[in-house]
Amino acid sequence: QQQVKQSPQSLIVQKGGISIINCAYENTAFDYFPWYQQFPGKGPALLIAIRPDVSEKKEGRFTISFNKSAKQFSLHIMDSQPGDSATYFCAATFNNDMRFGAGTRLTVKP
């Protein structure tokens, strides 16, 4: 039973475009929502994270939008670059138990 649902499975964006990845969760006890970026042959690395008392968080070209009532959150990558091509995972945590979405493979075409 997947506790965090992520879409799309794959995404192709032109350089300079906006990449948007969406996630939804059911368990209202989750209290921390990170996004991870994974390159081939590497472990996932924290990209940006948000708490449910905040509706938006921005760090450089990366923004998380959070809708607590809808139990949804999304990652926006502005001005997408070929170097952003990777697999992205959303996650949700409660009590040190972190559950991941299924991942989105992003390809940014030059």
Binding site: Y32, P34, A49, T87, D97, M98
Partner: protein, 113 residues
């Protein structure tokens, strides 16, 4: 300095064998994890230890046994390996205080033939 290091990076073995993967973290974290990433990239939690005590034990075959000799180490031993065990196994650690990220190692790619 690698924060979370696991060895070996690659492990190729035959069905029925027993193998171990070692993990060490130098971040001073109390909580360590094992995750399994399958061929479709899905990350599934297997176990979690907090200060050497097992706190999360998902539905994992009992052929998998974690061992934590101290809070900086969490090893994974797998008995009677099966073809379906082929995957990438990630060790991770998390700090205390809530709202903390996971720090992952670079994974061990296990191939069972």
């Amino acid at each position: 300095d690698t924060a979370v290091s696991q060895t070996p990076k690659y492990l190729v073995t035959q069905m029925g064998n027993d193998k171990s993967i070692k993990c060490e973290q130098n971040l001073g974290h109390d909580t360590m994890y094992w995750y399994k990433q399958d061929s479709k990239k899905f990350l599934k939690i297997m176990f979690s230890y907090n200060n050497k005590e097992l706190i999360i034990n998902e539905t994992v075959p009992n052929r998998f046994s974690p061992k934590s000799p101290d809070k900086a180490h969490l090893n994974l031993h797998i008995n009677s390996l099966e073809l379906g065990d082929s995957a990438v196994y990630f060790c991770a650690s998390m700090g205390t205080g809530g709202h903390s990220p996971l720090h992952f190692g670079n994974g061990t790619r296990l191939t069972v033939t």
